[in-house]
C-alpha cells in the first residue's frame, strides 16, 4: 500500500492555551497563598509538584528513547507529541527551587545535628547538601542534553528525510537508557525516599519509574487522540493505531501493581521494624483509607476499564483511563510524600486542602501552555521518519 503521507501543519486548538493560562494563574494564586500561609506544607507539596512534572517530561523522553531502541513502529506517529511533551524537562528545574530554599524544613538529614544520629552519620557520605545539589544538577543536565539530541535529530529529519539520523538517535538512545534508569532512581531516592532518611527500599526507583511511564503515556494518549480527532495529525490514523497506546497503558498498570505489591509483600513478610514503620505511617488513622484507595485508583479501576479489547480502541475509554491514571499518579505521589509531613508535625491522620491541589493545577496549566509554545514551529508528526508509512499502514 503506497499512499503518500498527507500532512499539513496546523496550529493546535487555541483554547488549549487559554485553559492552560487560566489553570496557571489559578495555580500560581494557590501556590502563593499556600507559601504565605504554611510554607513547610507548601514545600512538601512543591516536591510533589516537581516529581509530577518530572514524570510528565521523563515519561515522554523515555517513550522516545524506547521507540528508537526497540525499533518500535506503532509509536512513530505519536513521537513528535512525545518530543514536544518532553520539552517540559527544560522547566523542571524551576520546580526544584522551593525545595532547595526550604531544604531544612523538609529534609531533616540536612541539619547539622543529623550527624549525631549513627544511621544518618553512616549515610552522610551520600546524603549531604553539596552532593545532593551536584547530583541534581548532573541529572538535569543529562535530561536536557538528551532532550536536545533526540529532538534536533528528529526535527532535522522532517526536512532532510535522512535515514542516518534515525540510526544516530538509536545509538544515543542506547546510551540514554542506563543513564535514564540511574538518574530517575537518583531523583526518586533523593527527593522522596530521603524525606524519611532512615527508611530504605531498593525497589523504590522502579516503583517511581512505573508511575512515571504511565503518566507520560497517559499525557501522550490524551494529546495524540485529541489532536487526531481534530485532524491535526497525519491522515489515516485511527482505532488500530490507538490500540497499542491502550495495550501499553494496560501493561504498565499491571507493572505498577506488580512493583508496588512486591515492595509491600517483602516488607510485610520480613517484618523488620526499620522497614515496616514506613507502611505503618501510611496505615495509621485516616491514611489507611488513602492506602486502600491507591489500590483501586491506580490498579483496579484502570485495569477494569482497559481489560476488554474494544476498550483499547475506543478513544473515549482510552482518554478516561488516561485521565484516571494521571490522577492516580498525583494520588500516588501524595501517598508517598505527605504522610511524612503529618508524621513530622504530629498531625493525626491525613491532611487535604487547597495546598495539595495547588501544584497539580499549576503544573497541568503550565504543561498546556508550554505545549502550545513548543509546538508552534514544529510539525506534529515526524513526517521525515522512514517508519512513518509503515506505522500508518498498520492494521490490527
Amino acid at each position: 500500500m503506497s499512499s503518500k503521507i498527507e500532512y499539513t501543519k496546523q496550529p493546535i486548538p487555541a483554547n488549549w492555551t487559554k485553559i492552560g493560562m487560566i489553570l496557571t494563574v489559578l495555580g500560581l494564586a494557590l501556590v502563593g497563598a499556600s507559601f504565605a500561609m504554611d510554607s513547610t506544607r507548601a514545600t512538601f507539596n512543591s516536591i510533589l509538584g516537581m516529581m509530577f512534572i518530572i514524570s510528565i517530561g521523563l515519561g515522554a523522553l523515555f517513550t522516545i528513547g524506547i521507540e528508537y531502541l526497540a525499533g518500535a513502529v506503532w509509536s512513530t506517529p505519536y513521537r513528535r507529541v512525545a518530543e514536544i511533551l518532553a520539552s517540559v524537562v527544560l522547566i523542571v528545574p524551576i520546580f526544584a527551587i522551593p525545595g532547595l530554599i526550604k531544604m531544612h524544613d523538609v529534609f531533616h538529614w540536612s541539619h547539622a545535628e543529623a550527624l549525631q544520629d549513627a544511621i544518618l552519620k553512616n549515610k552522610s557520605a551520600y546524603l549531604n547538601t553539596t552532593f545532593f545539589i551536584v547530583r541534581m544538577v548532573a541529572v538535569f543536565i543529562i535530561w536536557i542534553v538528551f532532550y536536545f539530541i533526540f529532538t534536533k535529530n528528529s526535527e532535522k529529519q522532517d526536512i532532510t528525510k535522512d535515514q542516518k539520523l534515525t540510526k544516530r538517535n538509536i545509538k544515543f538512545s542506547a546510551l540514554f537508557m542506563p543513564l535514564f534508569a540511574i538518574s530517575l532512581t537518583i531523583m526518586a531516592v533523593d527527593w522522596m525516599m530521603s524525606l524519611e532518611p532512615h527508611w530504605f527500599s531498593t525497589i523504590y526507583g522502579v516503583y517511581y519509574f512505573a508511575g512515571t511511564f504511565l503518566t507520560g503515556l497517559s499525557f501522550i494518549t490524551i494529546i495524540a487522540i485529541s489532536l487526531n480527532e481534530r485532524g491535526l495529525l497525519v491522515k489515516g490514523l485511527g482505532e488500530d493505531h490507538y490500540y497499542s497506546l491502550g495495550a501499553m497503558m494496560f501493561a504498565f498498570v499491571n507493572f505498577w501493581a506488580y512493583i508496588a505489591f512486591s515492595q509491600y509483600l517483602l516488607i510485610w513478610y520480613a517484618n523488620l521494624p526499620e522497614e515496616t514503620y514506613w507502611f505503618i505511617n501510611r496505615y495509621e488513622g485516616s491514611w489507611a483509607y488513602v492506602s486502600y484507595g491507591l489500590v483501586f485508583v491506580h490498579f483496579v479501576i484502570p485495569y477494569i476499564i482497559l481489560l476488554p479489547q474494544p476498550a483499547k480502541k475506543d478513544p473515549k475509554r482510552l482518554k478516561l483511563a488516561a485521565f484516571i491514571l494521571i490522577f492516580a499518579h498525583i494520588y500516588d505521589l501524595y501517598w508517598l510524600i505527605m504522610p511524612t509531613y503529618t508524621k513530622q508535625h504530629g498531625i493525626e491522620g491525613m491532611v487535604f486542602s487547597f495546598y495539595e491541589i495547588a501544584f497539580p493545577v499549576l503544573i497541568i496549566g503550565v504543561v498546556m501552555v508550554w505545549f502550545g509554545i513548543m509546538s508552534k514551529n514544529k510539525n506534529l508528526v515526524p513526517i521525515g521518519d522512514p517508519k512513518l508509512q509503515q506505522a500508518i499502514d498498520f492494521h490490527l
Partner: protein, 385 residues
C-alpha cells in the same frame, strides 16, 4: 459414493490481494472463510468479523481459578490446618496473592486453550472437507486462500468463480465431500473420526512404548544407587558371631591407656576427701550469672533432699533419709574443695556422686550458691553495715 460440492475456493498470491478479495466477498456472501499461512493484519475488519467471544471464557476461567485459590487457602489456613507462620494472622491476604495470581493465570490459559479447541474447533469432530486438498497444501505454505460455502444463500458456483477471477485469483478450485461422511443429526463432515479404531490403537501403542522406554532408561540403563553407605559400611550385625574387621573377631579396638574423653576431666581425689579439701581451689568467679546457674542446679538436683534453703527439710516425705542441715558449724567450716568433693563423690553411702548430672563448672556454681545460703542464715557483722 457420490461427491457433493462443499465450497468454491480461490488462491491469491499476496496479502494485499486476499484483503481486497475478502472485502469483496464479504459484500455478497455470509458463509465464507479465509486461510493464510500466518495472521494477516487487517483481516478481521476485511472479513467483517466481530470480536471473538473467547475472552469471556478466559475471564470466567480466570475468576474460577482466583476463587479456588483464595477459598482453598482460606479454608486450609484458618480451618483445616491453622499454623502460625512468622507471627502473621491465619488469614493474611498478602501471602495469598502470589498463589492466587498463579492459579488465575494457569486456569485462564489452560481454560482458554481447551475451550478454543473443544467449543470453537468442535474437537471430537476434527475433520473438514478442505483437509487433504491442494487448496489446504497451498494455504499452509505460501498462498492466501478464500472459499465460499455452498450452503450460503446467495451461492452460485459460476458467479463465485467469476468473482474470484475478476479479483485476480491465481487458482480456482472446487472442494467436494462424500455424502457418506455427513452425519445425520449435525452438520459435520465426518471423514475421519478421532475415536477411530486405528487411531486409538496407535495412540495406545505409543503410550506403551514411551512409558516402557522411560522405565527401562530410568530404572535399568541409567540407574544410580541412592545414598546407602550405612548399608554397606563394615559393622557388627546383631547376632553375628564375629566381625571380620580385626583378626581377633572384635569390631573395635580398646582405647590406649590413659585416654581422656573429649570434654571430660578425670577426678583424682575419688575417696580422698581430706586431700580434696586441701588441694582443690574454687576456680569460678562469683557473679550474678554464676549464682543464678548455681541456684538452678541446686533447685533441680539438691533441693529434693536438702530443701530449697539447705535446711535438710526433705520433700520426699521420709522415703529417703533426711540429710543434715547445710547450716551446721561443720558444714560452714568446710572449705570449697570439700563441698565440691562431696557433690562429686557422694558421702556416707547415702548421698550419691553427682558428677554425671553436673558438669565441673555446674558443681562449682552450686558450691558458690551453697555458700550464699549459709551466709543468709549466719550473716557476719560486716554484712549489716
Amino acid at each position: 459414493m457420490s461427491k457433493n460440492l462443499f465450497a468454491v475456493a480461490g488462491l491469491f498470491n499476496t496479502p494485499d490481494e486476499i484483503i481486497k478479495a475478502s472485502k469483496a466477498v464479504n459484500k455478497q456472501y455470509k458463509k465464507f472463510d479465509v486461510n493464510t499461512p500466518y495472521p494477516v493484519h487487517g483481516m478481521d475488519s476485511a472479513m467483517g468479523l466481530k470480536s471473538s467471544k473467547l475472552g469471556y471464557f478466559a475471564l470466567a476461567f480466570g475468576l474460577t481459578g482466583m476463587l479456588i485459590a483464595l477459598s482453598l487457602m482460606t479454608w486450609v489456613t484458618t480451618k483445616e490446618y491453622p499454623l502460625v507462620i512468622g507471627g502473621k494472622p491465619f488469614f493474611s491476604l498478602p501471602a495469598f496473592i502470589p498463589i492466587t495470581f498463579e492459579l488465575t493465570v494457569l486456569l485462564a490459559s489452560i481454560g482458554t486453550v481447551l475451550s478454543m479447541i473443544f467449543i470453537f474447533f468442535k474437537l471430537p469432530n476434527n475433520s473438514h472437507p478442505i483437509h487433504d486438498t491442494n487448496y489446504m497444501k497451498s494455504v499452509s505454505n505460501d498462498k492466501y486462500g478464500i472459499y465460499v460455502l455452498a450452503e450460503d444463500d446467495n451461492f452460485d458456483a459460476e458467479k463465485v468463480k467469476a468473482l474470484f477471477a475478476s479479483l485476480g485469483a491465481a487458482d480456482i478450485s472446487e472442494i467436494l465431500y462424500n455424502e457418506d461422511d455427513l452425519e445425520e443429526d449435525v452438520q459435520v463432515y465426518q471423514h475421519f473420526k478421532i475415536f477411530d479404531k486405528k487411531f486409538v490403537v496407535g495412540l495406545l501403542s505409543i503410550v506403551v512404548v514411551v512409558s516402557g522406554l522411560a522405565y527401562y532408561m530410568l530404572n535399568k540403563l541409567f540407574y544410580m544407587a541412592p545414598y546407602n553407605w550405612m548399608m554397606t559400611q563394615s559393622k557388627v550385625i546383631p547376632q553375628a558371631p564375629v566381625s571380620d574387621n580385626f583378626a581377633d573377631g572384635f569390631p573395635m579396638r580398646n582405647p590406649v591407656e590413659g585416654t581422656v574423653a573429649k570434654g571430660f576431666m578425670p577426678y583424682e581425689y575419688k575417696g580422698k576427701p581430706e586431700e580434696a579439701e586441701k588441694n582443690l581451689i574454687n576456680p569460678s568467679e562469683v557473679t550474678p550469672e554464676n549464682l543464678a546457674l548455681g541456684k538452678i542446679k541446686f533447685d533441680i538436683y539438691c533441693s529434693p533432699c536438702h530443701g530449697y534453703f539447705g535446711k535438710g527439710d526433705s520433700r520426699l516425705n521420709g522415703q529417703f533419709p533426711n540429710p543434715p542441715s547445710l547450716h551446721s558449724e561443720k558444714a560452714r567450716n568446710f572449705k570449697d574443695g570439700r563441698i565440691f568433693h562431696i557433690i562429686t563423690d557422694g558421702q556416707n553411702n547415702v548421698m550419691p556422686g553427682y558428677y554425671k548430672q553436673l558438669s565441673r563448672d555446674d558443681r562449682w556454681a552450686v558450691v558458690n550458691y551453697v555458700r550464699v545460703l549459709q551466709r543468709s542464715l549466719n550473716a557476719k557483722e560486716e554484712d549489716l553495715k
